[in-house]
Symmetry: C2
């Protein structure tokens, strides 16, 4: 238990909602509300990071944020939902990178490799928090995206899957390089496979306290996936 992490505070505050810069023109009530939510989020995540999720009580959070216990639940429906907010934030950041990569003229494999590099960087930065997230809510039904048809098919790792899907699709739709991937595999299947491998690798990495190179491990597995398990005649 416990998962006490070294308190690394290089986390960019204020990124929970992108609106906080715009928040200046909001009515005072709204502005204060947003600020307090942010403060609760930051306080909670900091405590999670230093004391672990289970080792942190809601009262600790609210005392440090200097509000009453009940106030916390005005802003977050549950203790766990703080992690859900974190999950969304992480997903947004990752997806932004993915979208940029999807527009880059590279081979399929190179696009994925670049994506892995980016995610690895983020994972390294978020190590402790990621481990907490994984332990606590990764398979949680609350993370299942309920929107689109395709999305509904995917159950966990909501924060990776859309990005992988975007990259894979971009490749298929990208006339100039069509044909480098097998055409008979639908995007959803490919994305599911890739992100499930990612998920497993990330879990291993997080629980291993970052004891191996995430990028190398993932690259090795992608080698296998690209080339296939079966022995090839032409080799």
């Amino acid at each position: 238990m416990r998962l006490v992490g070294q308190a690394s505070h290089h986390y960019k505050r204020g990124s929970l909602t992108g609106d906080l810069s715009k928040a200046a023109h909001l009515p005072r009530r709204e502005r204060k509300k947003a600020i307090l939510r942010e403060r609760l989020f930051d306080t909670a995540m900091d405590l999670f990071e230093t004391q672990g999720y289970d080792g942190t009580t809601v009262i600790e959070i609210t005392e440090r944020a200097d509000v009453a216990k009940g106030t916390f639940f005005n802003y977050f429906p549950s203790k766990e939902s703080v992690l859900l907010a974190y999950h969304e934030q992480l997903g947004r950041e990752i997806h932004q990178r993915a979208e940029r990569i999807a527009r880059t003229p590279l081979s399929a494999r190179d696009r994925f490799d670049r994506f892995f590099a980016q995610v690895s960087k983020i994972a390294k930065r978020e190590k402790v928090r990621l481990a907490i997230l994984i332990r606590q809510v990764v398979v949680y039904p609350g993370l299942v995206p309920r929107s689109g048809t395709v999305e509904r098919e995917h159950t966990s790792w909501a924060f990776l899957w859309p990005s992988v899907l975007a990259i894979h699709r971009s490749f298929l739709e990208d006339g100039q390089e069509r044909g480098e991937l097998r055409g008979d595999i639908d995007s959803a299947t490919a994305a599911t496979i890739i992100s499930s491998i990612w998920a497993t690798t990330l879990i291993q990495w997080a629980f291993n306290d970052g004891g191996f190179s995430l990028q190398k491990a993932m690259s090795k597995r992608m080698d296998v996936l690209f080339a296939g398990l079966a022995r090839r005649e032409d080799s």
Copy 2:
């Protein structure tokens, strides 16, 4: 929430510990202890199945089993640990099948297919319980096997991974068919990939209330894995 399932009671009782048949010659104390543990396990799982995990309190379990609340914690260190016991039981059953298949003279793909068929059957039988298990503890660190070196590398889905590994290894060590799989892929990597795909597929299936053919879905994904994502020159 809730996950109320149709109460399907075709679950073989008394299989929590294989010793229960032998239990007849145990001293009375030991025998009673084993029986009570079994009763608590069965009662708990039945309630989980009908009312969901969160919808069942420990008091409900103990009242139905006609003991005091504290007694429960003499037999299980936590409510969740009932699910851990279930997880182990499931793992044992699956692994037995895997070992038998590993000794069967079939091609690599056929061995895996047969294994999938078996697991699919078990999954169908255990549908509700499996969903509960997944929701509650699948990624839980308590499930990480801490023994062997290789095992420690794998983080979740402990109940699938050893089986997949066994089959894959059996194939590699099986002289008569060596060469059908690429030889440069180590067993652990292959097993990780396969079981992570399995995990994702199972999660999707369980949360989809068994709304698609587990076997077909898995087969499709294995096709991709065996052939590889990259376009092949010789096709």
